[in-house]
């Protein structure tokens, strides 16, 4: 049934390494393997959540998908087109279908531009007709729950939640098919977070949007996502439906991550798997399974042989020898 639907976005074997240069000749001494061979599909109209701790590569993955960061390897098929084969001109034209919402609503809006100029800028860049631009901006502002009268004001006059709405209006301007939302609610207060999450859900319904939703906040990811991919040190360790990942995680890292989430209920029984130690560096990740240094159930094999992401009978994918 769902398998028949062609994915809107199909990422395979995506890699993004950042060189570390040292010495007078700036020779490349090592690489930060930020994203190291990940593959996933996103179907039209669904929300794919990418979750993981800081440094796991989720943000890099989101940007590499849009070629905001040039990937080092892999293919990205978007709406039937191989994005990596496009030249700069063509890529720019395709970008109108793929937009991004950033985490920090303070840093992502130019403080010297009016709201009219910020939300209208995509029209300028993509050269769409200018006659009714104010009307278009006004409609967009209304769509995200802002009063069109704010058009002549500047970002500093708005609260974090309002700024995030402005960023969303800008992302919507060209009626994209895919929106990469990179921690869009992490900088917001609890009561404002819920407003923005609801807005994103409403817009998805209204415009048939597909989201790649990146966040470290697991309850947020669970609420908004159809499917979830869990990243650890540049790799996807488990991919499945929201319920599979959050109600019955199979990978020991997913299990530990979920058990660490604080539950807003003092009566909740806590069976916490406390991971010892810190996340190793992605410059020189552990051999074999990258999680073996912190894994409570690791065996000899895990230190030597890297577990591939393989399908389980229930349809999810897990990268663990012991599952």
């Amino acid at each position: 049934m769902r398998e028949a639907v062609e994915p809107l976005l199909s990422v395979s074997h995506l890699k993004k390494y950042f060189p570390i240069r040292r010495g007078v000749l700036s020779r490349v001494a090592a690489h930060v393997k930020a994203v190291d061979d990940i593959s996933f599909d996103i179907k039209k109209g669904e929300t794919f959540g990418l979750v993981g701790e800081s440094g796991c590569g989720k943000t890099t993955a989101g940007r590499a998908v849009l070629r905001l960061l040039e990937p080092d390897a892999g293919t990205i098929k978007f709406d039937g087109i191989d994005l990596r084969s496009l030249g700069p001109q063509e890529l720019r034209r395709r970008r109108r279908d793929m937009q991004i919402i950033f985490q920090d609503p303070y840093a992502s809006l130019n403080p010297r531009m009016t709201i009219r100029a910020i939300v209208g800028e995509p029209f300028v860049i993509h050269g769409t007709s200018g006659s009714d631009r104010d009307d278009q901006v006004a409609t967009l502002l209304k769509t995200v729950g802002l009063d069109p009268s704010v058009m002549n004001r500047y970002p500093h006059e708005f609260s974090g939640g309002q700024r995030q709405r402005i960023g969303i209006a800008r992302a919507l301007a060209l009626r994209p098919k895919l929106i990469v939302a990179d921690e869009p609610v992490s900088a917001l207060d609890v009561s404002i977070q819920a407003q923005i999450i609801n807005l994103l859900a409403d817009l998805q319904q209204q415009f048939g949007l597909t989201y790649l939703f990146i966040s470290h906040a697991i309850p947020v990811i669970e609420h908004i996502s159809t499917r979830i991919g869990v990243m650890y040190l540049g790799k996807l360790v488990e991919v499945g439906t929201s319920a599979q990942i959050c109600l019955s995680p199979k990978h020991p890292y997913t299990q530990a991550l979920l058990s660490a989430v604080p539950i807003p209920d003092p009566a909740a029984k806590k069976q916490r798997i406390v991971l010892t130690g810190d996340v190793p560096t992605p410059i020189n990740p552990p051999t074999g399974c990258r999680f073996h240094t912190r894994c409570p159930i690791a065996v000899e094999r895990c230190k030597i042989e890297e577990p591939p992401l393989r399908p389980l009978p229930d349809g999810r994918d897990t990268a663990c020898h012991l599952v």
């Binding site: 701790e53 604080p262 807003p264 003092p266 406390v274």
Partner: protein
Amino acid sequence: MTNVLEVRDLKTYFFTDEGVVKAVDGVSFAVERGKTLGLVGESGCGKSVTAMSISRLVSPPGRVVGGEVLLNGRNLVPLSDAEMRRVRGSQIAMIFQEPMTALNPVLEVGFQIAEAVLAHEKISKREAWLRAVDAMRAVSIPDAEKRAKDYPHQLSGGMRQRIMIAMALVCNPMLVIADEPTTALDVTIQAQILELLDSLRQKYNLSLILISHDLGVIAEVAETVAVMYAGKIVEIGPAMDVFHNPRHPYTQGLLQSIPRLGSSLQKKDRLDVIEGMVPNLLHLPDGCSFAARCHKKTVECTRSEIILEAISEQHEVRCIHA
């Protein structure tokens, strides 16, 4: 039970060019020996300023303009700055959100902890260093002797926060105020730090004030919870009561608006939200500050000041509809 700390009608105002901001406006609570009070609220609600006022770290244009801060029965508010310096660090210790900015980047971490001891006790540098290493062991830093010679940048975020905790504990304070101690940390590291704080509290019979915007973090460690909104406590009581039987519409709204783990069981498309946003503290409305966002609002709400009233023995709510 003895109260280590009693805060009575604390008021801290900021005298800005635009007007007076009543950041903390009549806050009262008590912390028992060996217990944890959780102070929860959104940005600008006054939870951090409350903490800073207790340890007198508020700087101009802010000023504590009223109230009492009783530490073991002794009022700290009239103390001179010099007297207060002796209290801070030795009897009250603070842990901040960002361990990287709270540590000096060019000094060894062990030295920074030792400095805290030397500021309060007449002991040799050698002894102070040993105390620092002991404190680092107490917060489960492996290889403490070696790590003490590290600089902050050589340590991970979680390790740095352990250093901050070691520094807070090294003079055996009776009260520790932790202001968003895990907000900058990853969730697996957050779990480690919360567990550590809780075990240290039990081991040393510490009183702890934990400030957080995260209701989950508060629920994990606090016995008593105070919810702040626009400079005032709107609800305070035992954690069980506040979380299971919230009576203030703001507390209710907050608890309903957070996405919860396990939500895919009963997939809701929308979260319940609190409409609108926090009022400007410069122009607070008469009566209840939350009224403009409240679904229970009536004309009585904005007529006059709403007081914090007990609805059961320990549970108090600032709402006439509670």
